[in-house]
Structure formats: structure tokens, C-alpha cells
Symmetry: C2
Subunit: 119 residues, 2 copies
Amino acid sequence: MSRINKDGFNEECKKDHREIYGIAYTQNLLSGRWKYLILWFLKFKPHRYNEIKTLLWGISQGSLTKQLRELEADGLINRKVYPEVPPRVEYSLTSKGEQLIPIIDLMEEFGKKFGDKLD
Amino acid sequence: MSRINKDGFNEECKKDHREIYGIAYTQNLLSGRWKYLILWFLKFKPHRYNEIKTLLWGISQGSLTKQLRELEADGLINRKVYPEVPPRVEYSLTSKGEQLIPIIDLMEEFGKKFGDKLD
DNA sequence: CTGTATCCATGGAGATACTG
DNA sequence: CAGTATCTCCATGGATACAG
């Protein structure tokens, strides 16, 4: 899903409907196939790289690393490296990231109600 | 953003974390660059094709039609055609679609809080 | 006014091999 | 263990022309 920039709205919208900026901003942060699930998984407790990879069966290393980096760059997760051998890296939610959890919980609730099966 | 199917999770997840299905289901319904904004716009009142197109300045006709068809197929919006000349078509939320509004409102709230500007 | 049909560009995501 | 570096593929979305 491509990102939305502020040129993508007409003048009336820019003047009267600043809500749209908010929606687009949040959507941009969550663009990417796995980000909702990563954040949802981290809401319980910090998790290591491989734990996330195991949960998201089928994600490639390249994709996972990229999504984690984007989440980190957007200030939604923390990345903590423990200088051990073998290396250990734990990801956790930032306070900003925690504030997305209610949204994800609502999506879960909606999906439980309507989504008997995935297609 | 590509859709997620149920094969995309490992066995432990399938057994213990059915929440993931719900999140993925909802995410799939909302995959697409403009769907959040279309639903948000319809929450106020039904709107015509060209009203939506005007709001989403920059969307092509092909893309808009496709997204509207998908929303309709997923049961989130109604499409009502008035047999007039020139033709008039109004789109409105279904009850299922209305239940996504709280999610979009939360996204708007989050974006207002953190998204001073779009990039 | 509300679309349909066609083609094309883009970027997200997966596969694979390699590394500190 | 936790990545990085390439390469490829394909779905999404945009542009354009045309139509009922």
C-alpha cells in the first residue's frame, strides 16, 4: 500500500477536513503487511527477533527486518541489543506504539465478529 | 498491501492466538490506499461517486471504482443507483461498515496527536 | 454522471546466499 | 542469533481513452 501525501486532497478538504490528515498519517505508519501483527504480538511483552519470525510463519528475514526498521524509525517500537554471544535483540513497544493497541484490539474484535474464515 | 491467508501463521499461533485471524481479516478488508478515507467520508451521510472522487483529489476513476466495488463486495458499503438521466449513484455505509467507524475515529485521534505533518 | 477497458509504472514482499 | 545484500515477481494503483 503506497503512502498518502498531503497533495492527495483537494482544497476544501485541506481547509475543512483536517481529520483526513490524521487518518492518513496513522495509516501510513501501519502500511505494510505485518505491522499490525508485530505490534499486537509485542503488546504482551518484549520479544526477540526469532520469536517474531516464528509467530509470523512465512515471513522472510528481509521483510521482517525491513518492517521492524520502519516501525523503529516511526517511533513505535524500541530495539534493544544485548552484547552477548550469540547476540540477543529484544523489541518492545514505545509509549507511542502502545497507543495504537486500542486500534488493533478493535480490529481484532471486529474480525472475530465478522471474519469466520479468511479467504 | 497483499492479503494475508491463514497459512501465514505457525501451528502454535493457529492453536493459541486466534486473535491474529481477526486482525488479519479486518486488515484485509481495509487493504487499499483509499478505503479508510472513503469509509470515513461516508460516515456523515451517503455520497455520490463524484463527491467521493472530488474529496480524494488525485485518485483515478479506475482506482476509485475498483475500491468501491471491493468495499461493496465485502459488505461494507451499499450502492444505490437512481434511474435518472444523468445517472445518480449514492454510496452509504452498511451496518457492518458502520462498525469500522470507531477504528477509523481512533486512527484519526492518534494521527491528530502525533502527526503534525505528513511526509 | 458514472462508469469500463487497457496498458504501464511502482514498490512491497519472498527466495536465496552470505556474515559478524 | 540476528541480521545484510540481491534478485525477482506480481499485485496495486495510476493514466488514458472510450461508453451508456
